[in-house]
């Protein structure tokens, strides 16, 4: 099977400090891939490299249909079909929930297109559909800044979904959520995976165990191992990395 | 309901503000004036006093306003003009040229003043010129300027070029040397003045070693002084403006150049400006004006005394102050002669009007509405006053287009 995303020997050098030391990663169609690893392993940096926020010092990122994307500008990468949800909710607080989604809808994104854009029934239907999916139907006209933390997280996920991406990058999507909300988010992620590939960075091991099929473990800027959660837990190196730092996998 | 109230409230507040702002302070003026002559109402006649009372030019212009008000007061004490008391309407030009145009318009249209005394910079005069011409008003402009202008609605009581710059250059050529270096701020007066000087030097055997301009407000003169040092001129002719003079003279002195080595003749530094630079820095350098505080006549003694008593002992009088002061007297005399405040009649009557100003007799030249004045070259003293070294004896006829000088042909226009 051909991967959607291929990372080849990615290195990132922050003024002499190597945050990534040659990462290789493949993400396949309709896959939910979890990235785990201790703090400072380079998980977020890897997402940053994929979506163009951070430039790799070395290596290639290849995206299906667009070829090599690591030299492209951020908005071009996003247009190519890679959506990114940041760790801290980054939404537009002074716009309403509806407007946040309206801007995120998959559409032509030039100045002229937006000047002449009409709010037709098709767009409305899309937004309604997503609102329902992220459970914010009743908040559509509220300013996004007034939402609860968990709701902001969902709104941001919704903003990514409505772009109809081929690959969704989620950075700690359940941070700050209650138990019920976590579960809902877990199902939402699986639901999403029917339409696109998802790459999730997550710290919460229960969550990972419950919702993951494939897991990639990173440590100190490199991939340590890959496999199912069960396999990974057996891996001695992984145990050492976590236990050696005084942390347990479970 | 709620939204309506909100909007109504907002609009109410806004409209009140707007009315207050637009109607402004002249709400008290009856704008539909029935009297047929300008500015006259009962026992008083209104005149406008329009100077920058705020902003960068306030430094110079406030004292002109004071001088004009003093003259108005004196005339009122002596019985007024045509039996009417003069009522000054004071406006602030705020060192902003459109504001000068705006206020001149207000004075003429809304206050309907008989005349305006005002302005300092050429730019402010140029801004007021179309306004007074279009409204057939009258403006008395009291500061030396670059010439090349003669509006039927303006009287010029400051020197034009042939009453200050041209004689100064001749005097320098005769007494101080042939090699000139010209420096000035980068604006209209210095550039026009230097153009005239260059033509004159050519005609009278002088030599031009350099010509430099610095932006307004420039304060680092080390490079310019290096250039002057390298050129080694006999004299420096200075048309720098305002603040730049302070920096230039201080740094010139530091560079070890004194009046003995290279004297500087300035045409924009009078007694007022010396106070802000320091007499110690300027002592020994020259100026060219039509009036100095030190002029020894009874009229001047009286004038200086009254001015100091009224506005402060530490103050000084200088050329523009005197010109602003006697402008009011010239206008009053012209009105008396015309027997009317009407602009056209005053203009017709103005030719040859003469008054005894603090610095000597001054006379209006009807052909160009400038003033006959005595030219004086002076040396700046340690105490900040100016000692007269030379004067032209008789008053010099104003010649704003330099028509009486052969070498100036072709200067005044492209033709």
């Amino acid at each position: 099977m051909k991967p959607v995303l291929t990372c080849r020997d990615i290195k990132v050098d922050f003024d002499g400090f190597y945050a990534l030391k040659g990462v290789n990663l493949n993400v396949f169609h309709e896959e939910v891939r979890f990235l785990i690893g201790p703090n400072g392993a380079g998980k977020t940096t890897l997402l940053d490299v994929i979506c163009g926020k951070t430039r790799a010092t070395n290596g290639q990122v290849i995206f299906e249909g667009s070829g090599q994307i690591d030299k492209m500008q951020e908005h071009k990468i996003a247009s190519a079909g890679i959506a990114r949800k940041f760790q801290a909710p980054s939404i537009f607080p002074k716009l309403t929930v509806f407007e946040n989604l309206e801007l995120s809808v998959k559409q032509k994104k030039s100045v002229w297109a937006l000047l002449t854009a009409k709010l037709n029934s098709e767009v409305k239907a899309k937004i309604d559909y997503i609102l329902e999916k992220i459970n914010l139907q009743n908040e559509r006209n509220r300013e996004a800044g007034e939402l609860a933390h968990g709701q902001k997280q969902w709104l941001e996920i919704g903003m990514q979904l409505i772009q109809e991406p081929n690959l969704l990058l989620l950075d700690e999507p359940i941070a700050g959520m209650s138990g019920v909300e976590r579960e809902k988010t877990g199902y939402l992620i699986h639901d999403i995976a029917k339409e696109c590939s998802v790459l999730v960075v997550e710290h919460d091991m229960d969550f990972v165990r419950n919702f993951s099929k494939q897991v990639t473990v990173m440590h100190e800027g490199a991939v340590l191992c890959e496999g199912s959660m069960a396999e990974v837990q057996e891996n001695e190196q992984v145990v050492e990395v976590y236990l050696g730092r005084g942390k347990k996998v479970c | 309901m709620g939204k309506m109230t909100k909007n109504l409230f907002l609009m109410l507040v806004i409209l009140t503000f707007m009315l207050a702002g637009c109607v402004g302070s002249n709400a008290t003026n009856n704008e539909s004036d029935t009297s047929d002559e300008k500015g006259e109402k009962g026992d008083t006649v209104k005149v406008g006093v329009l100077h920058s009372l705020s902003g960068t030019m306030a430094i110079s212009e406030v004292s002109l306003k004071n001088a004009e008000l003093m003259a108005i007061e004196e005339i009122n004490e002596a019985g007024g003009v045509l039996g009417k008391k003069i009522e000054p309407v004071i406006e602030d030009g705020a060192s902003d040229w459109p504001t000068f145009a705006e206020k001149a318009k207000k004075l003429l249209q809304s206050d309907e003043v008989a005349t305006i005394f005002g302005g300092w910079t050429s730019a402010s005069r140029k801004a007021m010129l179309p306004v007074v011409e279009q409204n057939n008003g009258l403006l008395w402009y009291p500061v030396q300027y670059e010439g090349m202008e003669s509006s039927p609605n303006i009287f010029y009581t400051g020197a034009t070029t042939n009453q200050q710059i041209v004689p100064a250059v001749s005097w320098l050529l005769e007494n101080k040397g042939k090699k000139f270096f010209l420096i000035g701020s980068d604006y209209v007066f210095p550039r026009t003045a230097n153009k005239i000087i260059k033509a004159q030097l050519k005609a009278e055997g002088g030599e031009l070693l350099g010509e430099e301009y610095t932006p307004l407000g420039h304060t680092d003169y080390s490079t310019l002084i290096s250039k002057i040092k390298a050129a080694k001129p006999d004299v420096i002719f200075n048309t720098l403006n305002g603040d730049s003079n302070v920096a230039f003279f201080k740094q010139l002195k530091d560079a070890g150049i004194g009046p003995k080595d290279m004297p500087v003749l300035s045409v924009s530094i009078a007694e007022e400006e010396i106070r802000g630079i320091g007499g110690d820095v300027l002592a020994g350098h020259y100026t060219a004006w039509n009036y100095y505080q030190t002029i020894d006549t009874p009229e001047n003694k009286d004038f200086v005394e009254k001015y100091k008593a009224k506005y402060g002992e530490e103050l000084v009088t200088d050329d523009p102050i005197e010109a602003a002061y006697f402008a009011v007297y010239l206008w009053a005399a012209a009105v008396e002669k015309a027997g009317s405040f009407d602009v056209d009649k005053v203009r017709a009557a103005s030719d040859g009007i003469e008054v005894q100003a603090p610095g000597g007799k001054v006379k209006i030249e009807g052909s160009n509405q400038h003033t006959w004045k005595v030219v004086r070259i002076g040396e700046i003293q340690e105490d900040g006053l100016i000692k007269e070294l030379w004067n032209s004896g008789e008053a010099v006829k104003p010649d704003p287009y330099l028509e009486g000088y052969d070498w100036a042909k072709g200067l005044s226009s492209g033709e």
């Binding site: 922050f14 003024d15 926020k53 940041f86 980054s90 | 960068t56 306030a58 430094i59 110079s60 406030v62 980068d186 430099e212 301009y213 610095t214 932006p215 407000g217 420039h218 304060t219 680092d220 080390s222 490079t223 310019l224 290096s226 250039k227 040092k229 390298a230 305002g242 603040d243 003079n245 302070v246 920096a247 201080k250 740094q251 002195k253 530091d254 560079a255 070890g256 007022e272 400006e273 106070r275 802000g276 630079i277 320091g278 007499g279 110690d280 820095v281």
Partner: protein, 306 residues
């Protein structure tokens, strides 16, 4: 023979350039702290310079009327610390009453401090009058040092030394004393410093006062070279900002280099053309340079998103 004259001109221009740089550095140094380190767009910094200049003028008046004649020449040495203290106090009051509400709102702080600047100017005008005032140079600063055919005025040498002292003083304070280290810590990472028990409010006020005080010292030096009037600060504020952003925000070394670069370029361009052209060239170069290096000559790479 001719080569000697050319050398002479080059040498004196180099000195002029360095001297102008030192003056620029002095006016920018305070701003490098308030704007560079604290990120406050302090448009009133020019008026701290103005106040410093008026303090010098007042000290001169006091010395000439109350002190023995032979002491007069030393008024200038006294005026420097006085100007520092007075403007630092004004800066402190300003921080406590206004600036502290404006951290993280750089554009708003720009507008508010512009308002402060207008008010300070009007106050100065009310107290000292609108015209410029004359400050008499102490006699020991008259004249200059003659090296071959080049004259180095004592005043300019004095300013060079003064800048050197300010710079070393600042360096020692910021990196070698506990109070200074606290200040650097706060500007680098406010939350972390606060967690470690640093009273950030106090440090902010102190830093702002220090920056303003340096403006006051610049004002003192200004009286040696230029005019003293209520609006004098506006002449310098734009230059000072340009130096700080050219050098890179948050970096004293950058400010130093920025001042030297601008000083040298403008004097040499002026020598080859005119002062007007030099001004246009310098500002156009700044615009172009920032296109190339948006964060100035020396910038630190940051990982923050916004």
């Amino acid at each position: 023979m001719k080569g000697g004259a050319a050398m002479e001109i080059w040498a004196s221009q180099l000195f002029n350039g360095l001297s102008y740089s030192s003056f620029l550095l002095l006016i920018a140094l305070g701003l490098a702290i308030t704007f560079g380190l604290m990120k406050v767009m302090n448009m009133a910094h020019g008026d701290m310079i103005m106040i410093g200049a008026y303090v010098t003028y007042s000290t001169q008046l006091i010395f000439s009327s109350f002190m023995p004649q032979n002491m007069f020449d030393y008024y200038f040495l006294f005026s420097i610390p006085i100007a520092f203290v007075v403007t630092a106090c004004i800066g402190w009051i300003l921080e406590k009453s206004l600036i502290q509400f404006l951290y993280n709102r750089p554009l708003d702080s720009m507008l508010a401090t512009w308002g402060v600047s207008l008010i300070l100017q009007q106050i100065a005008r009310t107290i000292f009058g609108a015209p410029n005032v004359a400050v008499k140079t102490p006699s020991w600063l008259d004249g200059g040092l003659q090296i071959a055919a080049v004259t180095l005025p004592y005043k300019r040498l004095f300013i060079l030394v003064l800048v050197g002292l300010c710079l070393t003083g600042l360096y020692v304070y910021l990196y070698r004393t506990a109070a200074g280290r606290r200040m650097t810590a706060v500007t680098l990472n406010r939350q972390m410093a606060s967690c470690l028990g640093v009273n950030t409010r106090k440090v902010d006020a102190g830093a702002f006062a220090l920056g303003s005080g340096l403006g006051g010292v610049a004002g003192c030096a200004l009286t040696l070279l230029g005019p003293v009037g209520p609006t004098v600060g506006t002449n310098y504020i734009i230059d000072a900002f340009m130096i700080v952003i050219l050098g890179g925000i948050g970096n004293l070394k950058g400010t130093l280099i920025g001042a030297v670069v601008i000083g040298l370029i403008s004097t040499f361009v002026e020598f080859g053309s005119s002062a007007t052209i030099a001004k246009v060239v310098v500002f156009a170069l700044i615009i172009l340079f920032l296109q190339w290096k948006p964060f100035g000559l020396i910038s630190t790479r940051s990982r923050a998103l916004d």
